[in-house]
């Protein structure tokens, strides 16, 4: 199992990695921007899960999803979106629905999160 964590906030990346490492035994890569994540996915080929923050400078999490959909090699990588934004804006909801329909985005995790909540969601996605 290979998981890629993407967040521009170093601490958040660390919390996510530490939480997962404490509970599940997966190989974990990290990226600190959308560009970097895309680069790593293209370079390393396949990931079992992408834990992707939405609000990032330059390329947002949703932009990353858009690009993944257009890329044959990336469009099947399951995504767990992580957001500190109130997830109520209309355009956000619409994008979310779209990516869920396209079976790219599997779930959304709200920041801050409890470890159990994170682990449960991750387990649910990778078990499928």
């Amino acid at each position: 199992m290979k998981i890629l964590i993407v967040d521009n906030d170093i601490n958040t990346v660390e919390v996510l990695r530490a939480s997962l490492l404490s509970k599940v035994n997966h190989e974990i890569d990290v990226a600190y921007s959308g560009e970097e994540a895309l680069e790593m996915m293209k370079k390393n080929g396949y990931y079992d899960l992408l834990i992707l923050d939405i609000m990032m400078p330059k390329i947002s999490g949703l932009d990353v999803c858009d690009l993944m959909i257009k890329d044959e090699r990336l469009k099947n990588i399951p995504v767990l979106l992580v957001s500190a934004l109130p997830i109520a804006s209309k355009s956000f909801q619409e994008s979310l629905e779209k990516f869920k329909e396209l079976k790219l985005v599997k779930d959304v995790l709200e920041k801050p999160f409890e470890i159990d909540n994170l682990v449960n969601k991750v387990k649910a996605i990778v078990s499928k």
Binding site: E14, A18, A84, K90, P112, I115
Partner: protein
């Protein structure tokens, strides 16, 4: 009868002799002279015929009637005398034969005699025997004259009837003794308005002058002719005035009254109208507020009404001895003279004249007079003048001027710009606010073209078009529009106008009234409001962003404290305690942020709620396990009571759950430790369902209930707050319930506990079923 007896006697003796004149004379002799004289002088014609019809003898009268001599007739057969028309002969012959069998007959015979006179005879013919010789004696009486008279009478009656029937006056003939109506003509019948049969036989008083019952001018008062105005009573009960003449005359030995009358209703009306108009004139003359006077052609007063007398201070007697000119100054006298000439010549005067009249007390009054000729029986007999006292009008003009000043004051005092424009667009009038807004002096604006001088270039075409359209359409409609004005100092000035066309009494366009409100400040305020809205949006965005910025570090704090908690075996007890506090407090902080964000969403209208049909009964029952989780580590119990039937609402599960969680959370905070919390679902009304969470605890003081659902309600007694919480929970619940179309509330008894509840609207059963079916599909 006498005659006939004599005749019989005579004829008896006569018949004893041979027939023929000579024989007769012989038979009668001298003693028979008397009888012969009778025979010859009687007024009846006597003819003797033999049984074959041959004339034996005739008397003088008969000869006279036949128009010939005895010789011409005696010895001839009666049919051969040439007297009777041929077509009459068979009848005569038949009658003659009848005599032979019936012995005596009566017939009437008509013929033309020898002198071509029409003769009508009434004959009695008898069969007599003299010396066994049967002869026929005819005694004939000439009734030609009688018949003629009779016919004349009939003709007269007919003529009278025609007159009676065709004459345009009503005629009634009355029996003078009984007063019964004997005869009535059609006009009278028509006037009475009943059928003739009904009227004839009635007592005359029933219809004609009932007032005179027993006082009939003819029968009772002995007058011979009466000519008077009376009243005729119609059959329908109405009455009409009539002019009646009564004459008495004798008809068939009876004294009768001939009443003839005419309907004078119209004349009466005319008379009444004339009288009324006369009275009206008199009344007008007397009561007119105008002064009315009559003078002769030289200006001597004949009469004047009270107003005139009052004005001049004279009595009626005094004024009739005065002349109009005597009240005037010399120069005015010449004007009066000219006017008088004009009136006499043309009957009226073209223009009213203004005079200054000297009153009895030496003072003066100003009057405007109009004079005209008045006529009596078609001839002018006086000059009638109508004078209006304008002394007061002069004073009124002063008052009006004051009113005008007042109007101008109001005109200036109003907060609106008021401008009157001529139809060609020039400023006729502008109020103070108007010229002050334009920053010009009033005189710099008056008579200038409004659009060219004072309307900002960009608005000129629009304004011109609006003016043109109201002038063209002649509409009464008020048009509203906005223009920017060109003020002296080029100050930005926006005015909202209402303009309307002013029309004269006959509907002609006169001017355009412009009423404007300077909305420059309003426009500026509008901009300010827009800016505030923008700022509010910025605030919301800021809250959203800062929420993100707050939550990112919180993620680390909560996350790492969680991890540390997991690894608590490597920490000492103090460290464990501190890390738990860090974790709990940061969760609390996160909770506050979440709630503030929720409220922001609701308040800015960005909260989107999806409605779907929910079987509320099943839904509430299914909550038991997750609610039990909240009670973990607590001594309280939770019971769910719902209605047995399915209650379906169109709502949102997550939102309902959030409210219930909040209520249960509150119950746990404020209720007693070992309480049983009851969640109930009831349907108190047909269209409303109620979900309540009841605790057993301290209850809420009534004075606090009102503020319970306000924002930050718990923060008020913050320093003495015994329970944790943001004080936003119930406020959020209220926002949610409101958005679900329900009502939120609480019923509380101090010392016993509280029941928090909310309601949700239910749709009708049919819709419910359909919704559930749809959901099942």
């Amino acid at each position: 009868m006498k005659i006939s007896k004599n005749k019989k006697k005579k004829t008896k003796q006569f018949s004893e002799e041979n027939f023929g004149r000579k024989a007769k004379e012989k038979v009668f002799g001298e003693s028979e002279e008397k009888l012969k004289s009778i025979f010859d002088n009687t007024n009846d014609a006597i003819i003797f015929l033999d049984k074959f019809g041959k004339i034996l003898d005739i008397n003088k009268k008969a000869a006279e009637i036949f128009g010939g001599s005895e010789k011409e007739l005696v010895g001839k057969h009666f049919t051969k005398t040439g007297l009777f028309p041929i077509k009459e002969l068979p009848t005569l012959i038949r009658n003659f034969k009848n005599i032979l069998t019936a012995k005596k007959i009566y017939i009437n015979v008509s013929f033309k005699n020898k002198k071509d006179q029409q003769i009508d005879l009434e004959c009695s013919a008898s069969l007599i025997k003299i010396n066994e010789v049967t002869i026929i004696m005819v005694i004939a009486r000439d009734f030609t004259e009688h018949k003629r008279l009779d016919e004349m009478l009939r003709e007269r009656e007919k003529r009278l009837r025609t007159i009676l029937d065709s004459v345009l006056i009503g005629i009634v003939i009355i029996d003078a003794e009984t007063h019964k109506i004997m005869e009535i003509n059609p006009i009278a019948t028509k006037m009475i308005g009943a059928p003739k049969e009904k009227i004839v036989g009635s007592i005359c008083h029933k219809y004609i002058c009932p007032a005179e019952k027993g006082k009939c001018p003819i029968t009772d008062l002995g007058q011979s002719v009466n000519n008077s105005e009376r009243v005729l009573f119609k059959a329908d009960g109405k009455s009409i005035p009539i002019l009646k003449t009564v004459t008495s005359f004798i008809l068939e030995d009876r004294k009768c009254l001939l009443e003839s009358f005419v309907d004078i209703t119209e004349r009466k009306q005319t008379e009444t109208a004339l009288q009324e108009s006369d009275e009206r004139y008199k009344s007008l003359f007397e009561h007119s507020l105008n002064c009315v006077y009559l003078s002769d052609f030289r200006g001597n007063f004949i009469d004047a009404n009270q107003s005139a007398l009052n004005l001049l201070g004279y009595t009626r007697d005094e004024i009739t001895s005065l002349n109009f000119a005597s009240m005037l100054s010399l120069d005015q006298q010449s004007i009066a003279f000219k006017t008088n000439q004009e009136v006499i010549a043309t009957g009226t005067q073209k223009k009213p004249t203004e005079f200054r009249l000297r009153c009895k007390d030496g003072g003066y009054v100003n009057v405007v007079t109009t004079a005209s000729l008045v006529y009596q029986k078609g001839k002018p007999y006086a000059v009638q003048g109508i004078a209006t006292d304008i002394t007061e009008r002069r004073q009124t003009e002063v008052v009006l001027r004051e009113e005008k000043n007042k109007f101008e004051k109001y005109f200036d005092a109003t907060g609106a710009i008021i401008i009157f424009l001529s139809l060609d667009g020039k400023v006729l009038l502008i109020n103070k606010i108007g010229y002050e807004t334009l920053e010009y002096n009033k005189d710099d604006i008056l008579n200038k073209n409004w659009i060219d001088k004072f309307v900002f270039e960009k608005d000129r075409i629009k304004t011109t078009a609006i003016f043109d359209s109201i002038i063209r359409e002649k509409t009464d409609e008020i048009k509203y529009f906005e223009t920017t004005l060109l003020t002296k100092n080029r100050k930005n000035t926006t005015v909202n106008w209402g303009i309307v066309l002013i029309k004269g009494e006959s509907g002609e366009s006169q001017a355009i009234l412009n009423i404007g409100i300077n909305i420059t400040e309003l426009a500026e305020a509008k901009i300010a409001i827009d800016q505030l809205k923008e700022l509010n949006k910025l605030k919301d965005d800021f809250l959203n962003i800062s929420a993100h910025e707050l939550r990112t570090p919180l993620t680390s704090i909560i996350g790492f404290s969680d991890i540390l908690k997991e690894q608590s075996h490597s920490l000492n007890s103090k460290q464990q305690k501190y890390i738990n506090i860090i974790n709990a407090e940061s969760l609390m902080l996160n909770n506050i942020i979440k709630r503030i964000l929720t409220i922001t969403r609701f308040e800015s209208g960005r909260e989107i709620i999806h409605f779907e049909p929910i079987n509320l009964t099943a839904f509430i029952q299914s909550l038991q396990p997750s609610l039990d989780m909240l009670l973990k580590n607590k001594k309280a119990k939770l019971v769910i009571n719902t209605e047995k039937k399915d209650i379906v609402v169109k709502s949102n599960k997550e939102k309902i759950l959030e409210v219930i969680y909040n209520f249960v959370d509150n119950s746990l905070k404020y209720g007693s430790e070992e309480q049983t919390i009851t969640i109930s679902l009831t349907q108190p009304e047909k269209e409303r369902v109620k979900i309540a969470v009841k605790d057993r605890g301290t209850g809420i003081p009534p004075e606090k209930i009102d503020k319970l659902f306000n924002k930050f309600s718990q923060l008020e007694p913050s320093l003495v707050r015994s329970q944790e919480g943001t004080g936003l929970g119930l406020y959020i619940c209220k926002l949610i319930v409101d958005s679900l179309g329900g009502k939120i509330g609480v019923e509380s008894t101090l010392g016993k506990g509280s029941s928090f509840f909310f309601t949700l609207p239910i749709e009708n059963v049919a819709t419910q079923k359909r919704d559930l079916d749809l959901k099942a599909v």
